[in-house]
């Protein structure tokens, strides 16, 4: 064997990732040594600051692109835009948690560094161009999320949710690595570019590529688990209901976004040449995900479970953008991710405001008559519900519009049709919340609790939802620019 060489490493390309990881590690120690009990909110503020710094560090890298660590990690505008989305998601989730944790008696300083580590895992997924790195990213994200799910420790539902999530997640991890091992056996490489090169080298005969097909299939199953695509979605409502609400909000947008972003890279680079094989499978997955997710939400009276099913449905829509492995599709994907993330974080913020201490009901009845008591809160929630449903002047409408157009132009007209129909069904359960808030008398007295963190979250999310809906052009431009110089 020839002597080993350390490959040239360009740490500049990883600056945002390293900032998040370094800051989180330091914060962990600062929290135990310097910040006294009862002042843990300070840790939260420091964590938000760290995430924002990481976002700023990324700014000068906009015109830089390149890969490092022997092509295992890449920095391009696509990964940078995703990094910014993830940083915003992390910061808003922490803002929501600042008062939620002490109010429910589960305040521990570790919460904030853990969210940062999860964000680091997500950035790793956005930057990874090697199956090993993607595996590490998914695991870094998942393992921290297992802990965060069980964070409301004495609460039994939280522990149960964490255990369910862990068992199924570990399962998915097993499938993921087994799939990667088979792909490695078939192609002799784990890098996405290497796989693409292998596939481009010869015309693929399915009969000779059992290993590769089986491996790719298992990788797809694992991704479906992580992003809760039907039929691998069974864990989602339980886990969302059991976990602390800010964590559920973080999961609903963060995990999905990061895993789908990685899936897009895998499909668009490594397996682009064999689109004919995976397209029908993904199309079927997307179709049943849209249908089952939205139908499942219909019968829910628990708002948290409803949002869980709604997030399943939205994953189906996002999948449309991924399948159209074109620039239009990827643009629509990024745009949808941004719009959905902000809207959903806002909706979860309102749910947290209504969540009473020591209770775990999240009944839709608590929304009844909200308009009379807190008009602004009700208006904000209505805005988020309209956006999730895809009603015109909101971000959700523009996002759905782009993704359906991209799907239609990409030759997936029937899927776009399924999307439109399921959106119409979905409007029912989103608007039901609005009707409750504005038209009905309160069933019982629920005192909404607002505070600085929640206010910030709801205001930022609300303004962004409106802004993206009314003036989408700069955001579309940003999404288009993100796909320039997309590295493989």
């Amino acid at each position: 064997m020839e002597p080993l060489q350390i490959p040239p490493v360009n740490l500049i390309l990883l600056a945002p990732l390293l900032t998040v990881v370094g800051w989180a590690s330091a914060l962990l120690l600062v929290d135990v040594f310097l910040i006294p009990e009862g002042k843990k909110k300070l840790t939260g503020y420091l964590a938000i600051a760290g995430l924002l710094v990481a976002g700023l560090v990324g700014l000068p890298l906009w015109n830089v692109s390149g890969s490092t660590f022997s092509g295992m990690l890449v920095l391009d505008r696509y990964s940078l835009s995703l990094t910014w989305i993830f940083v915003i998601v992390g910061a808003l989730s922490i803002a929501m948690a600042l008062d939620y944790l002490p109010r429910h008696g589960i305040e521990q300083g570790e919460f904030y560094p853990l969210i940062m580590f999860a964000v680091a895992g997500m950035i790793l997924l956005a930057q990874g161009t090697d199956l090993i790195v993607l595996f590490l990213g998914i695991e870094a994200l998942s393992i921290t999320l297992y802990i965060l799910t069980g964070f409301a420790y004495p609460r039994l539902t939280s522990e149960e949710a964490a255990m369910k999530y862990l068992v199924l997640g570990a399962f998915a991890a097993g499938f993921f690595v087994y799939g990667i091992a088979l792909v490695y056996g078939a192609t002799g490489t784990t890098s996405l570019a290497g796989i693409a090169e292998f596939l481009g080298r010869q015309t693929l005969v399915a009969e000779d590529q059992t290993l590769l097909l089986a491996g790719a299939g298992m990788v797809l199953i694992a991704f479906s688990f992580k992003t809760a695509l039907v039929p691998f979605h069974m864990w989602t409502p339980d886990v969302y209901e059991g976990s602390p609400t800010p964590v559920a909000a973080f999961m609903s947008v963060g995990t999905k976004g990061a895993a789908l972003a990685a899936l897009l890279r895998v499909l668009a680079f490594a397996f682009e040449g064999v689109q004919a094989y995976w397209l029908p499978v993904l199309a079927a997955l997307a179709a049943i995900t849209m249908v089952v997710g939205n139908l499942g939400a219909l019968g829910q009276t628990n708002v948290k479970r409803m949002l869980a099913y709604s997030s399943i449905g939205h994953a189906g829509y996002i999948l449309l953008g991924i399948m159209v492995a074109s620039e239009r599709g990827a643009e629509a994907f990024l745009f949808y991710l941004l719009a959905y993330a902000l809207t959903n974080l806002g909706a979860f913020g309102v749910v947290i405001a209504l969540e009473q201490q020591g209770e775990s009901v999240w009944s839709i009845e608590d929304f009844a008559g909200l308009y009379q008591r807190r008009p602004m809160l009700a208006v904000a929630m209505a805005l988020f519900m309209f956006s999730l449903a895809g009603v015109p002047p909101t971000a959700g409408f523009m996002a759905k519009f782009f993704i359906f157009t991209a799907a239609y132009e990409g030759g997936l007209g029937w899927l776009a049709l399924v999307g439109v129909i399921t959106s119409a069904i979905a409007a029912y359960f989103y608007l039901r919340v609005v009707v409750k808030m504005f038209m009905q008398e309160p069933a019982r007295e629920v005192q909404p609790e607002l505070n600085r963190g929640l206010n910030a979250d709801i205001i930022i999310a609300g303004v962004a939802t409106l802004l993206i809906g009314l003036v989408p052009t700069p955001f579309i431009f940003l999404a288009q620019q993100s796909l320039v110089a997309l590295g493989g």
């Binding site: 595996f135 369910k164 002799g188």
Partner: protein, 105 residues
């Protein structure tokens, strides 16, 4: 030496181990048992990775490196899983997965 045992044989062993792990994880009621099943699945993968490395690409150490990462990740997962089982045992006095069912699924 590598010719003595065909690659297929190693793959079959790994596949069998994976299936045993899968069966264990699905059929066990004890949560520790479930975790052990998952560990078996991951170790089957390691056999695969090392076998592919030895038979197909012995010049590049990708397979070996990956196996190390899988070992490390499996350990982290096991540690978190054990911590969770302790937490559940403290509150429910059981490690039986069936009796932990307060969330309607």
């Amino acid at each position: 030496m590598t010719n003595a045992i065909p690659l297929e044989a190693v793959l079959v062993v790994a596949g069998a181990l994976f299936c045993i792990g899968l069966f264990g994880a699905l059929s066990r009621r004890n949560m520790v048992g479930i975790l052990m099943g998952v560990e078996l699945m991951l170790n089957a993968v390691n056999i695969n990775l090392v076998a592919f490395w030895r038979y197909l690409e012995p010049r590049f150490i990708t397979g070996q490196t990956f196996a190390l990462f899988v070992i490390a990740v499996a350990a982290a997962e096991a540690a978190v899983g054990l911590a969770m089982i302790i937490a559940i045992y403290r509150s429910w006095q059981t490690v039986n997965a069936d009796s932990v069912d307060s969330l309607r699924g």
